[in-house]
Symmetry: C2
Subunit: 218 residues, 2 copies
DNA sequence: AAAAGTTTGTCAATGAATTGACAGGATATT
DNA sequence: AATATCCTGTCAATTCATTGACAAACTTTT
């Protein structure tokens, strides 16, 4: 039973498929062909078939794909059939924003606790959960079966906190701190570097402006 | 003077180079070889040289790269030498968090205004800027030379708002709404789909768990 | 029940990105 | 000043990702 490795390029596209299929399902659409989906999503039909086929034959010749079935299958592939308890480290604006984001719960991500090093914030509530001081982190993680930690603290403290999270059995870190974490093999890290994203935007603005200049001169 | 197109794969790596070089600069380090940088950043030296060389010969044989020079050059390539005024649409938790994030200013992104459709929020302040109602959007954009709009509203209204932004001359949209925007050619869109990112994390947790199971059985 | 039309899964071809290798030019050492 | 060492820029090789093409299988129409 040899599982072949799926490339991260493919994984990165799955959430978008999942989203479109969810919308189709909500519209009551039962079936869709790779051709129609490709027009909707603006990608090639070949890529869609290739992607889905990494996980098995979900479609049927002459019919296409059953929307609801495919939606559920992709959800399972993404692990959305499991529940994951998560905590947030850093009760600043961003930490609070993520704690208040209710949609994560719908996908099985359960907001369990929020921590902050600043004692002034202790006791403050985010969606019914009291902000706790960092001293309580270890005990809380062990008592509450925490899989995922969301790191929304400044870069200075992030590496140290990440170590503590690993010591207490975290499986994955969703890292919003602007620093690369160095964790042991087997701990998953997903970085969200907002300023990197903004710089890419900045680059593309500049590039377009230069392109325009060049075109006008020519 | 033919500018060759740089792949987005390369662009996506520039902010990370920029960050590491900034740190080296702050540590007072004057020069670095692709070899040393590759060990620090955990990428191949070949890739580093290849990447930098897209923009011209920044290095010198036998010496390496001058840290400060390279840092500045990459900053310029990313367009960080220009200033961009931005507004935020959606004064919820996330919108406020981004408005309060001071570091963007350091890179030339100036927070000018924030809007929300909910009249209850009007008048509330985010970093000295009053939340304005959507009716004022058009006039404000024209009066304040707005380049970038940050979209932190629910998906339902996002497409419509994006159109309005385009009508009022926005150059780029930093899109946090969970929907694909369809804008005219020449308007830059950078998506930050947080739930997609979380799903990738979820996939990688599941994959690792399955891997573990398989290894134990074998 | 046969014919026409649809659409997948897959193989092969193409294209893009990454890595490896090394000549040549600069620096550092003796 | 000569020699050894270092390190870039670039070409070639390799690996990875995307696209194109089509036989086979199913659905729909006649």
């Amino acid at each position: 039973m040899e599982e072949k490795e799926i490339s991260q390029a493919v994984i990165g596209r799955l959430p978008r498929y999942f989203r479109y299929l969810g919308e189709l399902k909500d519209e009551g659409i039962e079936r869709i062909s790779s051709q129609d989906l490709s027009e909707l999503m603006k990608v090639t039909a070949s890529q869609i078939r290739q992607d889905f086929n990494n996980f098995g034959g979900f479609g049927q010749q002459g019919y296409g794909y059953n929307v609801e079935y495919l939606y559920n299958e992709i959800g399972n592939i993404l692990g959305l059939n499991r529940r994951h308890n998560f905590i947030i480290i850093g009760a600043g604006n961003l930490g609070q924003a993520l704690g208040n984001y209710i949609n994560f719960e719908r996908r099985g991500f359960i907001f369990k606790g929020i921590f902050d090093a600043n004692p002034k914030l202790a006791g403050r509530e985010v969606r019914g959960v009291k902000v706790m001081p960092m001293e309580k982190l270890g005990q809380f993680m062990r008592d509450n079966d925490i899989d995922i930690a969301v790191l929304t603290i400044p870069k200075a403290g992030a590496v140290e906190v990440a170590e503590k999270l690993v010591q207490n059995g975290v499986r994955a870190i969703w890292n919003f701190a602007h620093v690369d974490l160095n964790v042991p093999q087997g701990i998953q890290v997903e970085n969200v570097h907002l300023s990197d994203s903004l710089m890419k935007l900045s680059y593309n603005i500049s590039r377009y402006m230069k392109e325009q200049d060049a075109t006008l001169k020519a």
